[in-house]
C-alpha cells in the first residue's frame, strides 16, 4: 500500500533517520488486523512447571484488571519474564492497556517531546558588552573642532577597534518552555506503543538478580537478543544491590524509577524493561491524565535575574 508523504521540514527527516523508527511487516497500522493484532504466542503447554525451576511460586497470569478499559479497543498482551535465570523463562501473560501500548504512532508528537526535552534545559550564556558596559569611554577623546580628526564622543563606541558590540548576544538567555501536558502524556503513550510494536518492550516480575556480576546480566541480555542498550524501569527509586552493581559496570544498561520515564530515554535505549509494579504505576498515572477533566497549565513567565 503506497503511503504519500507530504514535503516535510528537515527536522522530521532527521528525526526519522536518527531514531531509526521503522515499521516491520507485522506492525503496519494501516491494515485491518492492525488494531487487533495478535502476537505470536508460543504453546506453553509442553513446558515443565515453571515455578519449580525458577524458584518462585508465581501463578501464570492470564488476565490483569485494566483501569478505564476502552470499549472500542482490545487489550494487548505481553509475556511476563524474569531476570533471575539466564534462560528465557516465561512466567505468564499480562494484558496491556491499548490506549497506552497500542496508540497510533504519532512521530510528530515524538518530535515535539524530544525537542522540548533537549531545548528547555538550554541556557545561552553568551554575553557581549555594549558601549555602556565597556571599560572606559566616558570622556570625549579630543575636542569637537580644530584637531582635523573625525568627531567622536567615546573611544568605546562600536566603530572603534576595542569598542562595544551593538547587537551582540545579550546575557544569559534561556530557551525554557513547557510543552503542553497532554502532548507530553501522548508522547509517553506513543513511545511505549512503538516499543511494544517493535518487540522492544519486555515485562519482568522484578529487578532481582541472583549475582552482582555484570557478566551475568550481559550474558542474559545477549542470549535473549535484548539489544545493545537496555533501560530498566522500576516502581520506586530504591533498587537492590545486585542490579545496582551490575548496571553500574555497563554504560548502556541503565535503571530508572517510574518518574524518570521520558521519550528521549525510551528512544535512546533500544530495549525497555518494565517491572510489574512499574507497569501498574505507569498505567494508573497515564490513564489519570488521558481521562482528566480540567488540568490547568501553570503559566511560566520569563524573568530576567541580575
Amino acid at each position: 500500500m503506497a503511503i504519500k508523504i507530504l514535503p516535510l521540514r528537515n527536522s522530521f527527516y532527521k528525526l526519522m533517520h536518527r531514531s531509526s523508527i521503522y515499521f516491520r511487516q507485522n506492525a503496519s497500522f494501516c491494515t485491518s488486523s492492525s488494531f487487533c493484532q495478535d502476537s505470536t504466542v508460543p504453546d506453553i503447554q509442553h513446558a515443565e512447571p515453571l515455578s519449580s525451576r525458577v524458584g518462585s511460586n508465581l501463578p501464570i497470569i492470564t488476565s490483569r484488571k485494566l483501569l478505564h478499559p476502552p470499549l472500542d479497543l482490545r487489550p494487548k498482551q505481553a509475556w511476563l519474564e524474569t531476570l533471575s535465570v539466564t534462560e528465557n523463562e516465561k512466567l505468564g501473560i499480562v494484558d496491556l492497556h491499548p490506549e497506552i501500548f497500542a496508540t497510533f504512532p504519532r512521530i510528530d508528537v515524538l518530535w515535539t517531546n524530544i525537542h522540548w526535552q533537549t531545548t528547555y534545559k538550554k541556557v545561552d550564556y553568551r554575553h557581549e558588552k555594549n558601549r555602556a558596559e565597556m571599560r572606559g569611554g566616558g570622556r570625549k577623546p579630543w575636542p569637537q573642532k580644530g584637531t582635523g580628526r573625525a568627531r567622536h564622543g567615546s573611544i568605546r563606541s562600536p566603530i572603534f577597534i576595542a569598542g562595544g558590540k551593538t547587537f551582540g548576544p545579550r546575557g544569559p538567555n534561556s530557551s525554557f518552555y513547557m510543552a503542553p501536558l497532554y502532548v507530553r502524556v501522548l508522547g509517553l503513550q506513543v513511545a511505549l506503543s512503538i516499543k511494544y510494536a517493535q518487540n522492544d518492550l519486555h515485562i519482568v516480575d522484578s529487578l532481582d538478580l541472583p549475582t552482582e556480576d555484570p557478566k551475568y546480566l550481559n550474558d542474559l541480555i545477549e542470549s535473549r537478543g535484548w539489544g545493545l542498550s537496555v533501560l530498566f524501569i522500576d516502581d520506586t527509586d530504591v533498587i537492590s544491590k545486585n542490579i545496582a552493581l551490575a548496571t553500574n559496570g555497563i554504560k548502556s544498561y541503565n535503571v530508572m524509577p517510574v518518574y524518570g520515564l521520558n521519550v528521549y530515554s525510551m528512544l535512546k535505549h533500544e530495549t525497555l524493561i518494565l517491572t510489574m509494579a512499574a507497569l501498574e504505576r505507569i498505567e494508573e498515572r497515564l490513564l489519570h491524565f488521558i481521562h482528566n477533566v480540567d488540568f490547568r497549565e501553570k503559566t511560566f513567565k520569563k524573568v530576567r535575574y541580575g
Binding site: F29, D72, V238, I239, A244, M256, H291, V293
Partner: protein
Amino acid sequence: MSLQRFCHFSADLIRKLGIRHTTAYRFNQFLREPQPDDIRTTVGGTPIIKPPKPTLTGVEESRDPDEWKAVLDLLPNPIVPLPPKHESYPTPSGWFPPQVPSAVEKYRVRRTRFHNFPIYKLTLNGGNRHFTAVHKVQGDIWAFDNDLRKFLTEITGKKIYTRVNEVCCKIWVRGLHLDEVAKFMATKGF
C-alpha cells in the same frame, strides 16, 4: 546516574559515614514513604494551623472521617467517567456511543476524552476563511479523505477541497460542514 542515588542506606550508616550533606543523603527523603498518619502540625516550633483571632467567629475543627467523606462527595471528579447506559440512542442531546466494532477497518477516528467527535471549526484570515478540522484520524488517512470527500460532495452538492496532514493525523475541509462530517462519522460507526 550515580550508584549512591539508588543504594539503600540505613540511618545508622548515614550517621556513621557523616554524609549528611551529600547528594546521596538529599535523596534520603524518598526512602521513606509519607504515611497517612503523618500530620505536620508545627514547623520549627511554630504551629501551622493557627488558632483564630478572638475578634473573629470561632471555627470548629474536625478530623472525623465520615464528615470528610461528605466533603469528598462535594469535590469535583477529576476523571471523565464513562457515559451511563441509556435506554435508547440518540439521547435527547443527540449523543450516541461508538459502534463496536466500527463499520470500516481501514481507518478509525477515536472519540475525545469527553466522548465527542474530534471535529472542530477554524476561522482564519480575520474571519474570511472557514475550515472544518477533523483530528485523530488513525490508519489510512488518504482512504478516509477520499470517502469523506465523496460523502460531502453528495450531501452538499459543492466542490469539496481538503488538506491532509498525514503526520499530524488531521484533515481540514474548506468551509463549515460540521454536521455533515458528523453524519459521515456516524455512518462509519466512530
